[in-house]
C-alpha cells in the first residue's frame, strides 16, 4: 500500500515536472531576449560574464537587477543597493504572500522554499493559474526558464562588446519596453494605476531635471524615494480592497 502510494506520488511528480518544463519554455525564450539587454546594463556597471550569470542566478529579477546594476555603476553604497533592490522587488513580497495561501497543508517547508526561490512575474503567473501550487510543476518551469535568464545576461555582457555601438544603444531600450508591457495593460484597466504611472513619469522628470536637491541624488536614490512617496500617497488616497487585490 505505502509502496504503491509512493510510486503514485513519484509518477505525479514526474508528470508535474514535465508539464512545468513545457510551460516554462516560452517564458525562458522571452527571458533570453530581455536578459540580453540586462547584460548590456551589467556590462556598463563593470560586471564580467561570470558575475552577470551569478547575479541573474541569485536574483532572477529584471527590474531589481537593472536597478542594482545602475546603482553599482553609480558607485552607490551597499545600503543604497539593498534599499534599491528591496523597493524594485517589493512586489515579490506580495506575490509570495499570495502563494503562501495556495499550498496544501502537507507541503514540506523545503518545497515552499523551493517554489519561493522562483517567484518572478511570469512564474508567479503560472503558479496562480492553478488553484493549488504544485511544487514539481514550478520546479519544471523554473528549470526551463531561469537558466536561459542567466545565459542571456552573460550573452549581453559578452556580445555588448562585439556589436556596433548603435545596435547596443537600440537594444538597451528593450528593458524599458518590457517595463511598459507590465505597466500599460494595468493602466488600461485600472484608473488609479494609470494616474500613478503618469504621476511617476512627471515626478521622475521633475526630480531628475528641475529640482537641484533631487538632481544631486543618484538615480537609484531618486527611484527609491519617489516610489515610496507616490505609492504611499496612492495607498492613502485610493486603498485597494483586500478581496479585490488577488485579481491583480
Amino acid at each position: 500500500m505505502s509502496q504503491r502510494s509512493t510510486q503514485a506520488a513519484a509518477q505525479s511528480r514526474g508528470r508535474d515536472m514535465r508539464e512545468g518544463l513545457r510551460d516554462g519554455l516560452p517564458i525562458g525564450l522571452g527571458y533570453l531576449a530581455v536578459a540580453f539587454s540586462l547584460g548590456i546594463a551589467a556590462r556598463e556597471a563593470g560586471l564580467t560574464a561570470t558575475q552577470g550569470f551569478i547575479a541573474s542566478l541569485l536574483s532572477v529579477a529584471s527590474a531589481g537587477e537593472y536597478a542594482g546594476f545602475t546603482l553599482i555603476a553609480a558607485q552607490a553604497s551597499y545600503v543604497e543597493i539593498a534599499l534599491g533592490t528591496l523597493v524594485t522587488n517589493a512586489r515579490y513580497l506580495l506575490m509570495s504572500t499570495a502563494l503562501s495561501q495556495r499550498f496544501s497543508n502537507s507541503t514540506p517547508l523545503s518545497q515552499r522554499i523551493g517554489v519561493g526561490l522562483g517567484v518572478t512575474d511570469e512564474l508567479f503567473g503560472l503558479a496562480i493559474a492553478h488553484s493549488q501550487v504544485r511544487p514539481f510543476y514550478q520546479y519544471g518551469a523554473m528549470l526551463s526558464s531561469i537558466p536561459l535568464w542567466c545565459v542571456g545576461t552573460s550573452a549581453g555582457i559578452v556580445a555588448g562588446q562585439l556589436l556596433p555601438a548603435r545596435v547596443v544603444t537600440a537594444l538597451s531600450v528593450s528593458l524599458f519596453g518590457m517595463f511598459l508591457a507590465v505597466i500599460m495593460p494595468a493602466s488600461r484597466t485600472d484608473r488609479v494605476v494609470r494616474t500613478c504611472v503618469l504621476a511617476s513619469f512627471v515626478a521622475s522628470y521633475v526630480a531628475s531635471h528641475l529640482i537641484p536637491l533631487t538632481m544631486a541624488w543618484s538615480s537609484g536614490t531618486r527611484i527609491i524615494v519617489l516610489t515610496v512617496i507616490i505609492s504611499a500617497a496612492a495607498a492613502l488616497i485610493c486603498p485597494v480592497s483586500p478581496e479585490g487585490d488577488d485579481a491583480s
Binding site: V34, L58, L175, G177, I183, F201, A203, S231
Partner: protein, 100 residues
C-alpha cells in the same frame, strides 16, 4: 573593484531571496493591513514608471528616437502586445530613428 561588484551581487541576491522567502516561511495567514496591501499593490507600477521615464528618452541616440520608442512601446503594450513584442518594437524604433 571586483570585490565591490561581488559583494554588491551578494547584497542584491540576499535581499531578493529574503523578499521571496519571508512571506512563504513566516506569514502563514493572510496580510490584513489595508495600507500595507495597497502600498504593495502600487509599488511595482510606480517603480517601473519612475525607472522608465525619462531614462528611455536619454538612453537613445536622440531624444526624438527615445520619445518615439516610448510612445510606440506604450501604445503596443496598451493594446495587449506581449512582453517580447513590445521590447522588440521599442528597439526597432530606437534603432531606425537613431540613424536619422
Amino acid at each position: 573593484m571586483s570585490a565591490r561588484i561581488w559583494l554588491s551581487i551578494i547584497v542584491m541576491g540576499a535581499v531578493t531571496v529574503a523578499i521571496r522567502l519571508l512571506p512563504l516561511t513566516l506569514i502563514r495567514s493572510p496580510l490584513k493591513n489595508r495600507f500595507l496591501l495597497s502600498f504593495l499593490h502600487y509599488v511595482p507600477y510606480v517603480t517601473l514608471s519612475v525607472m522608465t521615464f525619462p531614462a528611455i528618452v536619454e538612453s537613445c541616440e536622440t531624444p526624438l528616437a527615445g520619445l518615439a520608442s516610448l510612445v510606440v512601446g506604450a501604445v503596443a503594450a496598451w493594446y495587449g502586445a506581449n512582453m517580447v513584442s513590445v521590447a522588440a518594437l521599442c528597439c526597432v524604433v530606437a534603432f531606425v530613428l537613431g540613424l536619422l
